[in-house]
Every structure is written in structure tokens, then in C-alpha cells.
Amino acid sequence: MSTPGIGADQRGGRKGGGSSATFRKIGDGAVNVAVKEPGRFFALCLDTGRAMFQWPFQWREFIQQAWFIVSVTVVPTMLVAIPFGGVLSLQVGGLIRQLGAQSYTGATAVVAIVREASPLVTSLLVAGAAGSAMCADIGSRKIREEIDAMEVLGINPLHRLVVPRMLACAFVALFLNGLVSVVGLVGGYFFNVMLQDGTPGAYLASFNAIAQLPDLLQAEFKAFVFGITAGLVAAYKGLNAKGGPKGVGDAVNQTVVITFMLLFLENFLISTLYFQFVPSKGM
């Protein structure tokens, strides 16, 4: 049998009857989605935050998980980044040539790839590959009662399993972001110079004209936040998996969907704030 565990609804609020069962069901569902689930998720985030500072840190698990995430994300990330840089150069390059500003193609690469595309590609890969794998792992442990056993043995699963996974996710996301930036830029450069007859000098010069260090820093910051988010959502959904193998499947599915939505939202918020606080470099 499976029962809700950490962060799950254990108290089950009871309300007086009166309205019909259907209305109550709909009402309960709405309350659950709007208030209870986010509340429980937030509680899990706080507990995990607290568990993060418990001694000793699980280095072994951290390194194993980081390596695992690298192994499932590096190749897909590169394969996505190369065509992404290429397509961007082709599309924007064509447009920009008609405007007669061909020498600024390099600048578009900064804006598009370093600031936006690389955190987004990273987020897709982290959520789709790492988050789903993590959720499946934790979820299957949950339904096999391994998580319960761990708690009974006096070990906090948040400290033991969730913290190292979440940090590994964030740690790897930082590097993935760098990887996407480099591979995307190389792809864009290659397409611009080889296929669109752009000049290497103009590409690099316009790149340097508009690029500034905060661009990279904000992208890295985004990647870090995305990694933490993906890790937490995967852990939350995994720890609340119930109802056997199908429950794990559902949890994985929900993890991917919820993580995507959250990451796009966070990306939007961070980008907006970035433009408020860091003035763009003039050309």
C-alpha cells in the first residue's frame, strides 16, 4: 500500500456538509490546486533548505548524481545547441542583411544565444532529462517503501536524497549553460561565416560591442535557479507518488509539465528584472 509521506496531505481537513457532493468535489479540487499543493510544495522547499545546512553533506551522492545528470544531458544539449545557433544565424542573418546591417549578425548572437536561448535550452534539458529521471527514481523508492524505511532508520530523506540531487542539478545546469553558449556561438559563427558570407572580423567585433559580463552572469544565475527548481519539483512529485507504478508514471509526467511552466515563468521574471537593473550597452 502507499500512503502520503513528507509534505503530503496527512490531516485532511473536514468541512461541514450542506452543499451537494459534486460541488464539494469541485471546490476541493480547486482548493487543492490553488492552495494546498503550492503550500505543500513550499513547505518541502523550506524543509529542504533547512536540510541543506545539516552536517554531513552527502558528497558521494552529490557526485554520483551530478555525473548521472551530465551523462543524460550533455549530448542532447549539444545536439540541440548546434542547430539552434545555426537556425538563428540563418533567420536573423537573412533579415538583417535586407536591412543592410549585416555586420551586426554577431550582436544578435549575444542577445539571442547567451542571454535567452542558452538558459532556455538548459532548462528544457534539465527538466526533461534530469528532472524526469530524478522523479522516477525517488517515486519508485517511495512506492517500494524505501523512503519510509529510510525515515524509520532515522535518516531524513530530504537531507540524504533530495539535497544532493537538487544541488547536483543546479551545479550541472551552470556548466550546461556555458556549454550551450559556446556550442551555440560556434554554430552561429560557422553558419554566418561559411554559409552566409559574413566576415569573421565583423561577427566578433559586433559581438564584443554589445556583449557584457552581466549577460553571462544572469544566464548562469538563471541556470542555477532552473536547476534548483527542477530538482525541487522532481523531489516533491516523487515523494508524493502513490498508487503503484502508474503513480510513478503520472508523477514523472507532472514533473516535466510543471517544471517547464515554472522555468519559463522564472525565465521571464529574471529577464525582466535584468533589463531593469542592468542597462544595455550602447553601440
Partner: protein, 363 residues
């Protein structure tokens, strides 16, 4: 010596569904108790509440002087070190082999050297008969082995309280009998407080010192084994004898019309079968908390059903008991727990007395 657990007015519900309410019972220190109940009456939920994995809506669980549901997290983790829990499927960590699984609590909670850990783990594996399977992964072994490995892991920190969730589910009768014997032997050795959750009546009739029965969201009865086995209470009687006649129906409970029809048909609940002798430790020693056979019946003026307490060899254990205890006493005094069995003291009882053979003979 084990720890007493006192449960007072415990109530648990999931959403609108009440699992059980106002459950009050005391698990006496060092004794074996069995919690019975039809499928889906929340036996496992009760077990999980006892270790604080689920929080009850109301009520108290006193472990020593600590009230488990209301402990702060740090103390809860600390209190859990008193517990060993065997989950239904063993709940072994799938990524570790058996040795690492069993060594896990030791490595986490003690500062023992690796050679010390190895010694303890191998000793426990020997105890449950798993020597030689150290390197196997949980995915590669059978259900019975998983259970025994889970038991070894639960025992490795020498718990004061051992909770066992359905030791018999998915096991053949022979393995179940061995596991039951193992549980009794363990109790004799470590003298912890045991709670076994099961719906196997054979286990319930022969293993425990106390029996409890959950039905219809309530604890119907909890008390010494002889009290329930000689009880005329319809639910207890129906369940402990695995009959169709009685208040328990296919789905939860029978309705009034079904019961009336049953009464009209003249279904007789039947005579109570004899109370089988209790399973003894395999080295023949008397467990410190073991009740004398027939003691409860005698103290409460209850006449046990005819044929009770008589084993396969026709010995009546109510009569034999004082002599048996006397014959065991000298060996029991200097017997080292976990050591070799104390041979045959006095030559009177060369073989372990009532075994599982006598069990279930009554029905």
C-alpha cells in the same frame, strides 16, 4: 528489555474517510503482540502511525515518556532509533547489495570500524539464514529472502521495539512457519517489544502473547492470546476461526438483512476450536515475557475449549508447564543470548516443546 508502548484514543482519517478511531491499547514491554483485521482496516496505517510516519488526527502514542505524534522532528528521529521495522516487501534499498543494506544503519548511526560492521552484519545475516548472499542486489532475490534481509536490517541496531508488517504475505506456509519461529527466537534473544500486523490466523493463534483485532474502524478487542481465542464475541470468533458465518462480510460488514437470513438458515457459528499451545523458542528456553499456558483462563474463570494446550505428542502444557520451567531454569540462567542452544537440560525435554505442528490443528 523492551519498551512499553501506550496508545490512547488514536484516530486517523484520510480526507473524509475515517480509518480507525479511538484506538487505545498497551503493548507490554518485551511481549509479542499481533494486530489482526480484515484487509483494508488500516493495520499498516496503524503500524506506520506507531513510528511517526503518519500523523494521527487525535490521540497519543507514548513510547516511554515521549508522546510520538507531538515530538519535534529532531527528537522524532532520535526516538525512531528505538524501533526496528520490517516492511511488507522488506523495503530494501534497490541500489545497494544486501550487505550494504544491512550495514546501512550501522554506518549511519554508529562510529564502528568497518571490520566491526562486517562482524555484526554477518552475525545478523547468519541469524536470518542469509549467509553467502551478501553480494546480491534486492532485485535478484526472492520475496522470502527480501523479508529476511529486511528483518536483519531492522535488527542491526538492536531495537527495543520491533514492528513487522505482514511477515506472511506472499510466502509459502513452510517459509511462514520458519519466519514465525524466527520471530519467537528473536524475542527470546533480544527481548524487545514486538508488534506483528497480519491476517494470517495461524500466526495469530500460535505466535503472540497478545492479540488485537481491528474491524469496522475500531479496535474490537485487545488482550492476552487466551482471552481472544476463548472469546465468544462474534467478530473475534469469526475472524480467529476463518468462518463465513458472522458479522464480517465480503465487503467490510454484512447488512442486517444478510445477518437475519443467516440466522433463519440456522447457521451455527460452531464450537470454539481448542487453543493451541504457544510456539516456543527453538532452543526450548522460556521467553522472559512468556505467559504460562492456561494462566489467563484460570485467573478469569474461563474454561478453555476442550483439547486446549495439548501438543502433537499429547502432552497437556497446563500440567507440564511448572515442571518444564523448573527443568529449564538452570540452563536459562547462564545462557548467553545469541550463543549455542543450551543442550538438553536434565534430559527431560530433548526436543523443543510445542512447535508449529500443533498449530491450526483445531480447524
Amino acid at each position: 528489555m523492551g519498551v512499553e508502548i501506550r496508545v490512547e484514543g488514536l484516530t486517523k482519517s484520510f480526507g473524509r474517510q475515517t480509518i480507525w478511531q479511538d484506538v487505545s491499547l498497551t503493548l507490554p514491554a518485551g511481549e509479542i503482540s499481533v494486530l489482526l483485521g480484515p484487509s483494508g482496516t488500516g493495520k499498516s496505517v496503524f503500524l506506520k502511525s506507531l513510528v511517526g510516519l503518519l500523523k494521527p488526527d487525535r490521540g497519543h502514542i507514548w513510547v516511554g515518556d515521549r508522546d510520538l505524534p507531538y515530538l519535534p522532528e529532531s527528537q522524532l528521529y532520535d526516538t525512531r532509533k528505538l524501533f526496528g521495522v520490517l516492511f511488507q516487501d522488506g523495503a530494501l534499498f534497490g541500489s545497494m547489495n544486501l550487505f550494504d543494506n544491512i550495514a546501512f544503519p550501522l554506518r549511519e548511526h554508529t562510529k564502528k570500524s568497518e571490520s566491526e560492521v562486517k562482524r555484526i552484519v554477518l552475525e545478523k545475516m547468519d541469524m536470518v539464514g542469509l549467509l553467502g548472499a551478501e553480494g546480491k542486489l534486492p532485485g535478484e532475490i526472492s520475496g522470502g529472502m527480501k523479508k529476511r534481509a529486511g528483518l536483519a536490517r531492522a535488527l542491526v541496531l538492536d531495537p527495543e521495539i520491533l514492528l513487522v508488517d505482514e511477515p506472511d504475505s506472499g510466502l509459502d506456509p513452510v517459509r511462514t512457519a520458519y519466519l514465525n519461529q524466527l520471530i519467537v527466537d528473536l524475542n527470546a534473544q533480544i527481548n524487545a517489544t514486538f508488534l506483528i500486523v497480519t491476517h494470517d490466523i495461524n500466526t495469530a493463534r500460535t505466535v503472540p502473547d497478545n492479540i488485537g483485532l481491528l474491524f469496522r474502524r475500531e479496535l474490537v478487542m485487545f488482550g492476552p492470546r487466551e482471552m481472544l481465542l476463548s472469546s465468544e464475541e462474534p467478530v473475534v470468533r469469526q475472524f480467529l476461526n476463518a468462518r463465513k458465518v458472522g458479522p464480517i462480510g465480503m465487503s467490510e460488514e454484512k447488512d442486517v438483512s444478510e445477518l437475519e437470513a443467516e440466522a433463519k438458515m440456522g447457521h451455527d457459528p460452531g464450537k470454539l476450536p481448542p487453543i493451541p499451545p504457544q510456539l516456543m523458542a527453538s532452543d526450548g528456553r522460556v521467553r522472559p515475557a512468556q505467559h504460562a499456558p492456561g494462566a489467563w483462563c484460570a485467573a478469569h474463570g474461563v474454561t478453555p475449549p476442550p483439547g486446549s494446550f495439548i501438543d502433537d505428542l499429547g502432552r497437556n502444557w497446563v500440567e507440564e508447564w511448572p515442571r518444564y520451567v523448573a527443568s529449564m531454569a538452570p540452563a536459562g540462567a547462564d545462557h548467553v543470548p545469541g550463543g549455542p542452544p543450551p543442550g538438553a537440560p536434565g534430559g527431560r525435554y530433548p526436543s523443543p516443546p510445542p512447535g508449529q505442528h500443533g498449530a491450526g490443528a483445531g480447524y
